[in-house]
């Protein structure tokens, strides 16, 4: 038993490095998507202290809109553009109708409002696009679908072109977001707003503009993840689950931290894959990916309640 836990898996890793690389690669692909989604959460939380429960349904809604528009005969790339417009309108409407009237309410009220948004979007999505599963328009968007086979260490490493595209696009998006937040005035305004509303107002930051902006960014993230995840799993309301995968990422990384979201996402993506292949399948009958991340997050929280990168909570007495 101890052998199976502590020795055998590592022996396997060393003996078949090509397979280990395959596992790591697949972990990286999911990891970067988790990181992206988690960034969406962090941005909204930092600028408005709202935990955005609707992030998941936004992924579904974006993917559905994209596929739906294409089904109506709109060219693929134009559909992407139009979906972005829809996500922008959604951000404006949410700010106007939900957030603005609730300014200054306790955080829990705003959180519940985002649950309301979730339910509303589920209903709206089903009414407009129907509830049945759809296929992501991967080929029509020109996303390559083949694969490349490498032979490291005399073994076999299969890289799906789709996955490569996802990693590249998601990485670029993450880097762009980081640069935007750190080196532009708008980005600074977003970070500032989360720290102190009053001070933000006094330097000329408009709450409304920033809120629309962060919800729109969350919308863009939703679209990208929707395309990437939808291409693998099909477009259905089950896509929402990917957002819940971001929860342990947030627990791990802390709701405040942008670095935390990125590192946490990658960590969870890779670790859950490693655990599944080397421990889960041989010892526990597989399917550990559904819960591993949460257990990991819980263990981290035991030792660091603020997450790995969260702001330390110090109360002066």
């Amino acid at each position: 038993m101890l052998n199976d836990i502590f020795i055998a898996p590592f022996v396997d890793m060393v003996e078949a490095p090509d397979f280990l690389m395959q596992v790591l690669w697949e972990g990286l692909v999911s990891g970067i998507l988790y990181a992206l989604i988690a960034l969406g959460f962090v941005l909204i939380f930092r600028s408005s202290r709202i935990f955005n429960f609707a992030q998941g349904i936004m992924v579904v809604f974006a993917a559905l809109t994209l596929v739906g528009l294409f089904a109506m005969g709109v060219p693929a790339w134009l559909s992407v553009g139009l979906t972005l417009v829809v996500m922008f309108v959604l951000a404006v409407v949410i700010e106007r109708v939900v957030l603005r009237p609730l300014v200054g309410q306790p955080d829990i009220i705003l959180f519940m409002a985002t649950i309301g948004i979730t339910l509303f979007l589920i209903g709206l999505g089903e009414t407009i696009f129907g509830g049945e599963n759809k296929v992501m328009i991967t080929e029509e968007l020109g996303i390559p679908t083949g694969d490349t086979v490498l032979e490291p260490f005399g073994g076999l490493l299969i890289l799906q072109h789709l996955d490569i595209t996802v990693v590249i696009v998601a990485t670029l998006l993450v880097l762009a977001l980081l640069a935007f937040l750190n080196y532009t005035q708008m980005g600074r305004a977003i970070r500032a707003l989360g720290d102190d509303h009053q001070a933000a107002l006094s330097v000329g930051i408009s709450l409304q503009t920033i809120w629309v902006l962060v919800w729109f960014i969350a919308g863009i993230i939703a679209l990208v993840t929707g395309i990437a995840w939808g291409a693998r799993a099909g477009v259905s309301f089950a896509l929402e689950v990917i957002a819940y995968k971001a929860l342990p990422v947030l627990m791990l990384g802390g709701l405040e931290s942008i670095t935390g979201a990125i590192v946490g996402g990658l960590m969870i993506g890779i670790l859950e894959k490693l655990f599944e292949i080397y421990w889960g399948q041989p010892l526990l009958g597989g399917n550990t990916e559904t819960w591993f991340a949460f257990v990991l997050a819980l263990i981290v929280l035991l030792f660091r309640p603020q997450g790995l990168f969260g702001e330390r909570i110090i109360e002066r007495v």
Partner: protein, 270 residues
Amino acid sequence: MKDTEGYVTADGRQIGGTLMEMRNITLRFGGVVAIQDISFDIHEGEVRAIIGPNGAGKSSMLNVISGFYTPSEGEVWYQGAKRPPMKPYEVARQGVARTFQNIALFEGMTVLDNVMTGRLTHMNAGVVSQALWWGKARNEEMENREKVERVIDFLEIQNIRKTPVGRLPYGLKKRVELARALAAEPSLLLLDEPMAGMNVEEKEDMSRFILDVNDEFGTTICLIEHDMGVVMDLSDRVVVMDYGKKIGDGTPDEVRNNQDVIDAYLGVPH
């Protein structure tokens, strides 16, 4: 505008025309009257102080000027025009910068980033060009950075540029807040108790900076202060408030000899 004439101060500085004028301002919170029918003006280039005992309504007045409160009655005139009711961020974009009594900084950000937010009012490039770090946005960022470095130099906080504000001691935080307000190159700078909670040495530093700012940049300053001694040394003209009413207005010497003011500070029963 009734009075746009400037005047010459005791120490020989030329003060410009009226920059801001409060006309019959009244502010009520439910049944409580925080400010009662107060009028005064602020001239370009002067250091104007609002003083008064605790609860006199000084901070409320500052909040009216900076748009955080909308007056129940009365008019605010700014740069020769009547100002419609405005949100605080709109007032900020008109060139009114402020600091807060209880320091309102962005604790998680570095000193440099905090001061950079002061430049937000000068941001013209659109979101898209900012997102792409391109063209106008790029030049603007460089230009902003230069101006900010000048302010940082001026207030002698170069050595803490990269320190997160949350880690700084109180006196320095106050200075960073001043830096952020200055970075906006304001036409009117509002300081809410800039010396509150400081020791003598820090107070002297702060007074020097305030005078230097006024001198060097010609910035008009309106400040609230508790400490009578400090105020009298700093300011060109002083408004005295007590229980929401104006009880005195004039040069420090005039105010010092005003019987109502003396009574208010010594606590003559009302």
